[in-house]
């Protein structure tokens, strides 16, 4: 019998909310989750709009120690785990975790570096949770998972790639259950890095808007509980959605910019559709990567139009709700797609005033109820990385 991957749990923490319910409410209202940035002192970037979390992260994660990214990951993973496995795991050796992560404990490493360079202090304990791998290890250790434990770091597409690779492990029969998603905190490296590329909009991100000037940064984590359909059926678990197709590609065009026509994105969409056995007409909603940089939105829209033609399904970028959360972005947006399927509604593209005519796709301006059977999530990253994932409604026959 063909193995199939389903989603049986979801957890999230971002500027849009500290639970799945809060997140959906924020998305439904098209809420602007960006607030003046204040996480660390910055002469140049203090006060810019950012999706910074105010919550007591250690209290939410229950971790004794860890980086900000670790706390985010464990808090989100606990939500997904408790929804999916309230009675515990059937077999911990057949359960693993793959997280996307780019930043890791960088925020603490930056403090270490500053003190070393300014005073010579060697406070190496600040580096204890530096590695990106720390978050997946913390999740596995906290929840008692003894299957594969890995970290994917493909820049901003990490989280969605992690979900797809976790699904592959289930399809290979190496695991029955995988927690998968992404986590990243804000850091000076990313704020100054994207600032150095002049890719941040001082007014906050406005995806697909004619006046857009770039992204807004954020932090967060989202984790999904993936499971083989057989395992879910044996447990009588509630299936939230099915992963029906996915594909990843590389532009091989530029280290940091997408190919103008979105050629790699097109291949990813076509690959995911083929994997799902669907045609473009079967997709009722596309969650765009939609960073609001001029190049990204133009390339993404060009790719969508090339695959779907003049009549595209509704498209929205939800990054105004929590900013661009790097490795977590694809996981958060996949989770939003799960919610869209569950609620049979499409979240709006917040921050849009006048649509850029160079982005000729059907941008969803308002929250709208509609019949959704299959939805698509796009996630892109530095290095020309593209990932497309298709989710289908839980009850839909293959």
């Amino acid at each position: 019998m063909k193995r199939e991957v389903v989603i049986t749990g979801a957890g999230i923490l971002s500027a849009a909310g500290a639970s799945v319910g809060e997140t959906w409410q924020a998305l439904k209202e098209g809420r602007d989750g960006l607030r003046p940035f204040s996480l660390f002192p910055s002469a140049r970037y203090a006060g810019i709009p950012a999706g910074q979390l105010q919550a007591d992260l250690p209290a939410l994660s229950g971790l004794g120690g860890g980086s900000r990214s670790d706390h985010l990951a464990v808090a989100a993973a606990r939500q997904a785990f408790s929804q999916s496995f309230p009675g515990g795991l059937p077999d911990p050796a057949r359960a693993g975790v793959i997280l996307g992560a780019c930043v890791g404990g960088m925020a603490d490493s930056e403090v270490f570096l500053e003190r070393l360079l300014r005073t010579g202090a060697r406070e190496t304990e600040l580096l204890h949770f530096h590695e990106c791998a720390s978050s997946a290890d913390a999740v596995a250790g906290t929840l008692g998972l003894y299957g594969p434990c890995e970290t994917i770091s493909t820049a901003c597409s990490s989280g969605q790639n992690a979900i797809c690779l976790a699904a592959e492990l289930i399809l290979s029969g190496e695991s029955d259950v995988m927690l998968a998603g992404g986590t990243d905190s804000l850091s000076r490296l990313t704020v100054n890095g994207f600032g150095s590329l002049l890719l941040m909009d001082p007014q906050g991100c406005r995806p697909f808007d004619e006046e857009r000037k770039g992204m807004s940064l954020g932090e967060g984590a989202a984790v999904l509980a993936l499971e083989s359909a057989g395992s879910a059926a044996r447990r009588n678990a509630r299936v939230l959605a099915r992963l029906s197709g996915w594909a990843a590609t590389c532009d091989a065009h530029h280290a940091a910019a997408p190919s103008p026509e979105g050629e790699g994105i097109q291949r990813a969409m076509r690959g995911a559709l083929a994997g799902a056995g669907l045609s473009p007409g079967d997709i009722q909603y596309i969650s765009a990567h939609g960073t609001a940089t001029p190049d990204n939105d133009r390339a993404e829209a060009a790719a969508i139009k090339a695959v779907f033609g003049e009549q595209t399904p509704p498209v929205s970028s939800i990054k105004r709700a929590f900013g661009h959360t790097f490795a977590a972005a694809g996981a958060i947006e996949t989770l939003a797609c799960v919610l869209a399927l569950q609620h049979q509604a499409v979240p709006p593209n917040a921050g849009l005033n006048r649509q850029d005519p160079a982005c000729p796709v059907k941008i969803q301006r308002d929250f709208a109820a509609c019949k959704l059977s299959n939805v698509m999530s796009l996630s892109l990253g530095f290095g020309g990385n593209n990932n497309c994932l298709i989710l289908s409604a839980a009850g839909q026959a293959q």
Partner: protein, 383 residues
């Protein structure tokens, strides 16, 4: 019985290592002593010695213009790809990249942050930021060879390479790709060295690493390197060996034995069984033993338990005496395994003093334990 339909063929291999890069150099290398690691201009001098790669060929092989835009990790990776003989033609069509790197582009990250701390936020260096992402080396490979398939970077401590290898082999087995460029690379970096030195993770003194030799001291010596392999789902003339499978898992930490040898042997036998290979068919266990007496002891107990299950002694060698300890070092071990299977030559330097090298081997089981709680393995067979 081995399943002929699983696994992948290793068509090309390229290594950049402190012990050299050519197969001849590597198969005849004598383990050397680490060298002092000098980082001029840094606040604190390092006491640690390590194994550093000579990248002097990079200028000629990659070109000075390109070299100016690359960080050390990217340079090592592209150099290894050149040594492997990778070409755009060989990577045309359905090809993906699977990179394992534990720490990523540390040098570029540090350069960006040092500049920010010392010169303020007004004069950033965007090129350092672009190169700072963990997938910068995988992206460089895609750009260099126009590789347009999946481009995945795994950054999970010591299992990074084996995890990347597993995903690449899986993609080939499922028919998503026809070829996979699998890589493992990590670079020496001042801050990583300093932090580990403060924690006492490096050996005192500059003697050669002697893993599995019954040493009684803790710590290891740092190293670096890059390994690049071209894998194919189909056989081809000149292929070096076949990789039958690779997998990773968490282990249950045991305070008295670190990792229960029965659990590690279960893990290894699980991979063998999945590949249709019996424990007694294991010709060589090539482990990531690094000269730290505590970790070496775990590897030795694992080999003994594997031997018990095989009903005979399983020869046990190590490779970090050539390259030092770095997160993606199992990529170097994998390359050494492919070369020895291809040549039929088992380098005597793999074994501690006084241990005879086994005769020709046809199956190598590569095994890595990460102190963070995961272990990984890969299985190779001669053609």
């Amino acid at each position: 019985m081995e399943n002929e339909n699983t696994g992948a063929y290793i068509l090309k291999a390229g290594l950049v290592s402190p012990a050299g890069g050519s197969p001849e150099q590597l198969l005849s290398a004598v383990p050397a002593a680490p060298v002092p690691l000098d980082y001029p201009g840094q606040k604190a001098a390092l006491k640690t010695a390590g194994y550093r790669c000579d990248l002097s060929e990079a200028k000629a092989l990659l070109g000075p213009m390109k070299l100016r835009r690359l960080g050390r990790l990217q340079t090592m990776t592209l150099l290894a790809a050149k040594k492997a003989g990778l070409s755009a033609e060989a990577c045309a069509g359905d090809t993906g990249v699977y990179m394992g790197t534990g720490l990523g582009s540390m040098g570029e990250t540090a350069a960006f942050l040092e500049n920010m701390v010392l010169n303020g936020e007004e004069f950033p260096k965007p090129a350092n930021f672009i190169n700072s992402v963990h997938n910068a080396a995988a992206s460089s490979l895609a750009l260099e060879y126009a590789i347009k398939g999946e481009n995945i970077t795994v950054a999970h401590r010591d299992i990074s390479f084996d995890a990347a290898l597993g995903h690449g082999v899986s993609a080939l087995a499922k028919g998503r790709l026809k070829r996979a460029v699998v890589c493992g690379a990590d670079e020496l970096n001042y801050y990583h060295l300093l932090a580990a030195e403060e924690k006492g993770l490096w050996k005192d003194g500059a003697g050669p690493l002697r893993p599995l030799a019954g040493g009684t001291t803790r710590g290891t010596s740092p190293g670096e390197g890059a390994a690049v392999f071209l894998l194919s789902s189909g056989a081809a003339e000149g292929a070096l060996a076949k990789v039958l499978g690779a997998r990773t898992a968490r282990y249950r930490y045991d305070a008295s034995t670190y990792l229960d040898p029965a659990a590690s042997a279960d893990f290894l036998c699980g991979l063998l069984a999945a590949c249709g290979v019996k424990p007694e068919e294991t010709g060589l266990l090539l482990s990531g033993a690094d000269g730290d007496c505590a970790l070496d002891a775990v590897y030795l107990r694992t080999a003994a338990e594997l031997g018990r299950r095989a009903g005979r002694l399983v020869p046990h060698g190590s490779f970090k005496q050539y390259c030092g300890d770095y997160k993606a070092a199992s990529g170097f071990g994998f390359g050494l395994a492919a070369l020895l299977l291809s040549s039929g030559t088992v380098p005597p330097g793999l074994f501690p003093n006084g241990t005879a090298a086994p005769g020709p081997v046809s199956t190598v089981l590569s095994y890595t334990i990460s102190r963070s709680g995961s272990h990984s393995a890969a299985l190779l067979r001669s053609l």
